[in-house]
């Protein structure tokens, strides 16, 4: 970067400043309202600092049940979508011929489709077999696109796989199953962990698909969604604050980890 402070540099810096203001100001407003004693979420009608909304959250049974449901769904999504994504990645990386592109397009299509469509099609399809909306259907609907995410991650990893190792193991008399368990799975382990974390976060966060598949049940997010219609209170802001705190902690840990790695690399170099 050149040191010259030209007009365009200043404009760009101002622009970036505004951009981050656009990103963070709303979060600040939302977090602040969680500590306001006023009954309706607000930062302008300030009635003094309070922590009572945190206490209300702890006593809010529907929200607590929603959190439990969200975690059940997220775990179910991990269990269902990771094997599907992995299987799809294996088939796609080894399948030759012109069907490869078609299969690829079909398997990533859930990512290119609006979330509500995935929820609706799942609801209609399973409705024919008398499976009503609920947690199970939510797991299935969410997995249809989260599996695509994991598949793309596994494919990226498998493309860097050195097949010589597997060949060597086979030549030395290892069984196919042993090769898979002792060579392929350890090689994929970092991706399996990342994919599980991403699947978990995607599932917890999802609203557009879930709202169609959830039926009479609810997750944390659909419960928040229905509160916008009935009973908006600063309890929602408290949930926001908790999300913010978790995210900032996770992000800082991630940065620290990266920094440590960098320093270690510098030390060994």
């Amino acid at each position: 970067m050149t040191k010259s402070r030209s007009l365009s540099d200043i404009i760009l810096n101002v622009y970036i400043g505004f951009f981050f203001l656009y990103l963070f100001a709303p979060l600040l407003v939302m977090s602040l309202a969680a500590f306001n004693a006023y009954d309706y979420p607000s930062v302008t009608q300030w009635k003094g600092w309070t922590l009572k909304w945190f206490g209300e959250l702890a006593n809010d049974d529907r929200i607590l049940k929603g959190i439990a449901n969200s975690i059940i769904v997220a775990l179910g999504v991990i269990v269902l979508s990771l094997p599907l994504g992995l299987a799809g990645a294996f088939v796609l990386t080894r399948l030759e011929g012109r069907y490869n592109n078609l299969l690829y397009a079909l398997l990533v299509s859930p990512l290119l489709m609006p979330g509500i469509i995935l929820g609706i099609s799942t609801l209609i399809f399973w409705g024919r077999f008398n499976v009503p909306g609920g947690l199970l259907l939510t797991i299935i609907a969410q997995s249809s696109f989260i599996a695509s995410y994991s598949m793309l991650m596994f494919m990226a990893r498998l493309q860097r796989q050195d097949r010589v190792l597997e060949e060597a193991a086979l030549d030395l008399g290892a069984s196919n199953f042993m090769v898979f368990r002792r060579i392929t799975i350890p090689f994929l382990m970092p991706t399996i962990i990342t994919a599980a974390v991403i699947a978990f976060l995607q599932s917890i966060e999802n609203y557009n698909t879930t709202v169609f598949a959830i039926g009479g049940d609810w997750t944390l997010v659909t419960e928040i969604g229905s509160r916008f219609r009935f009973g908006l209170s600063p309890v929602i802001n408290v949930i926001g604050v908790i999300f913010v705190i978790f995210t900032v902690i996770a992000a800082s840990l991630y940065v620290l980890q990266k920094e440590k790695e960098r320093q270690r690399k510098l030390a060994t170099a």
Binding site: S42, E166, F212
Partner: protein, 345 residues
């Protein structure tokens, strides 16, 4: 496929194939097919049916009366056939009442009212506007992070982008609601300046303007535009920028002739994702408008399913949305000359 069998053997390979097939068929293709099938029929409930049945009964009563009064055998037989015909007609009508017939056709697509069709078109136009706006807003950011900032600054900015994204979509949108609401932050600031008054309700009704949905949509999906562009711009050789500068190209020209052509796949992906997410977003318009301004198409779909219980119409509306998204993807792929492999990364 042979190399898969060679490495992992037949049992594992068939397991992979079965899982893939299950995913493809049971979770992707068949649900879509069932949705389309659902959109192609409707239950024909005739509103006049009850009246028709009543009329047939009363007519039969009259004929039966005539039958009793009939003198000759010939007239009697005539009345008898009329009664039989009426009986058959009533039976058919009653069967139709208890089990209305399923009629296949494009009825669900053609019966879309003018209002709903306007909303359909409006949602598409709005989503296109959001996409263009997001591109304009995000491109400078993506370029700065990829090429101008020092590595440390770039990492920090990346983090700054990811943190808001990690917070739930609903809550992100809700934060904007608090700012733009009638008695929200902006209106309060205006009131403090004496420009509006809460008592006289002269606040600026931001929420009744689709612009507020735009702001929240861009806010919600900013990352889907920035990341793909960032990824492609990052692979651009910095020397090309230096060379352009040395040869006297203006910033504008450098971007038009070098950066943007190089970033084409990223721009296409960013636009596809943003358009798809915006046009299909249920949460953002639902929260931002709170029923105060017009519905978006996604809200109409929701209503068809959960308020009017008309799944057939809902399925038809949903499939129309799929068609729009597919068309947009194909147009982008064609005009930006990118393949499916570039899109989903």
């Amino acid at each position: 496929m042979h190399s898969l069998i060679r490495s992992y053997g037949k049992p594992l390979t068939s397991l992979f194939v079965c899982l893939t097939a299950f995913w493809l068929l049971v979770m992707i293709a068949l649900p879509q097919a069932f949705m389309i099938e659902h959109s192609l029929w409707h239950i024909d409930r005739d509103d006049q049916l009850g009246m028709k049945i009543d009329r047939a009964y009363s007519e039969m009563g009259l004929v039966e009366y005539d039958l009793k009064a009939a003198k000759t055998e010939k007239v009697r037989a005539e009345f008898q056939t009329r009664i039989d015909a009426l009986k058959a007609q009533i039976a058919a009508l009653e069967a139709q009442e208890t089990e209305p017939p399923k009629i296949y056709g494009i009825h669900n697509y053609t019966k879309m009212s003018e209002l709903h069709f306007t909303i359909f078109l409006k949602s598409i136009v709005f989503a296109l506007m959001v996409t263009v706006l997001a591109l304009v807003v995000c491109y400078p950011m993506a370029f700065t992070i990829a090429k101008l900032a020092t590595p440390y600054k770039a990492a920090l900015m990346m983090l700054g982008l990811i943190i808001p994204y990690a917070i739930n979509e609903l809550l992100r949108v809700y934060a904007w609601l608090m700012i733009l609401d009638y008695q929200g932050v902006i209106n309060s600031a205006l009131a403090w300046l004496g420009l509006v008054s809460f008592e006289a309700k002269t606040w600026v009704p931001f929420l009744e303007n689709p612009g507020s949905v735009f702001v929240a949509l861009i806010y919600a999906y900013v990352l889907f535009m920035i990341f793909p562009i960032y990824n492609t711009v990052e692979t651009l050789d910095k020397n090309q920028l230096e060379a352009a500068k040395d040869l006297g190209a203006s910033t504008w020209k450098t971007h038009m002739r070098i950066v943007i052509p190089h970033a084409k796949p990223g721009i296409a992906v960013g636009c596809i994702m943003t358009f798809m997410l915006s046009v299909g977003s249920y949460s953002v318009p639902q929260i931002m408008t709170r029923g105060k301004s017009g519905d978006w198409f996604s809200q109409l779909i929701y209503r068809q399913f959960f308020e009017s219980q008309n799944w057939n119409t809902g399925a038809a509306y949903s499939f129309s949305l799929v068609i729009v998204c597919l068309a947009f993807i194909l147009i982008m792929m064609k005009s930006f000359k990118v393949g499916i492999r570039d899109i989903a990364k």
